[in-house]
Symmetry: C2
């Protein structure tokens, strides 16, 4: 808690330009915090000395868009033309939200929507969002707190009715299915760093490695250093 | 005034990944606001219907890093593999500064510094800065106003002694040479969108086209839409 947490995407150099362009065009969902040189596993900016092949708790491996068995070490898969992207995760907010009195320990979902993203090359697809449901006064505080992180998703992109953005709470990507939203809360939605990962899966590129959901990379950078005052 | 103004860089697709990566790694100086698809001259996000080959007032053309004669139309030079980058310019701030009582009509310089940027491929070189000198109370207001534009250089990166960042007022890149700073003002320095252009010139790539200094591209996007509240 309190450190910048990142989603990991590793793919071949041949796909790196289109992927970086996809992230640039959809910066709200895809805040790229570091792109490593081809073949390098050391994130010199965010965590000098770390090794992205071994220092995440769990990895998901995709071949042609099909997810294989998770692994805890990708050293044997690593190639000289692999480019690693570290993309800001909404979990980075959590300490700042807690400090402002907004609880973060539970009630968090990741959902697909029908909001389009702007394509780049073969990367395209819908926006993925993180949802929390909060008491109205907490939703207002959470909007202010997260707006201070423009390079990490920033303020919410929607509040209220999930169907207005095509989100289906009965079929979440992460988190328990929900039949009905409790009456005392309001759902708040942020652009989610899983968006580019989903686009890369849909593109069915030959190989992609990501963090396994809930097992992101914790950097050495304090979240407060990424926030505006 | 009041609209987002951009620096233009056009180069071949073969150099586009390294250039985009250079911008990502030096985001303070190089806020990429739009990257067009290879061969396309229409900035669909920032100015639908515009044509970047004809709609800037003047262009600078570089071959192997050597500047040729300026031109007012690059249609005859245009190639299918050209990629156009629109990068935020500090001039975007001007209306917001004026609204806050900070005059912008004069006393503005562009200067090279000895601050290093983070290289990407063959793109590397020093940070270029925009300097204004302001009365101390204006400097404090200008810092607050520009901090509201995190995707357009943001807050100043230095205030005070130019030599602390290796800037030489006697040899400006743009603006009149200065022998001595008047006693009643303080120099304030912002990262400048000329930085990636300078890196591309130093890289001596086969062809690059930019706006001519002081002749940037005015978009349809209101500057206030790029600002945080």
């Amino acid at each position: 808690m309190g450190y910048v947490q990142c989603n990991l995407v590793v793919l071949r150099k041949a796909h790196a330009y289109d992927f970086l362009l996809y992230c640039q065009r959809n910066q709200r969902a895809c805040p790229v915090l570091e792109v490593l040189n081809a073949g390098s596993p050391e994130p010199k900016r965010l965590a000098p000395g770390a090794d992205l092949r071994t220092d995440l708790p769990r990895y998901a491996v995709y071949r042609e868009g099909i997810r294989l068995a998770d692994t805890t070490d990708i050293s044997d898969l690593w190639q000289d033309d692999f480019v690693a992207f570290l993309i800001g995760s909404g979990i980075t907010f959590d300490q700042a939200l807690e400090d402002a009195g907004v609880p973060t320990a539970k009630d968090r979902w990741v959902l697909r929507t029908e909001l389009p993203t702007e394509p780049a090359g073969r990367f395209r697809g819908p926006m993925v969002v993180t949802m929390r449901w909060l008491r109205p006064e907490q939703a207002i505080v959470a909007t202010q707190v997260t707006a201070r992180f423009p390079f990490n998703h920033g303020a919410p992109l929607h509040v209220g009715d999930p169907s207005a953005i095509g989100a289906n709470l009965r079929d979440p990507y992460f988190g328990p299915p929900v039949d009905e939203i409790p009456p005392s809360v309001v759902p708040v939605f942020w652009a989610c760093g899983v968006t580019p990962q989903e686009a890369a899966i849909a593109a069915e590129i030959d190989i992609m490695i990501t963090h396994s959901p809930g097992h992101g990379f914790v950097t050495d950078l304090r979240a407060s250093e990424l926030a505006l005052p």
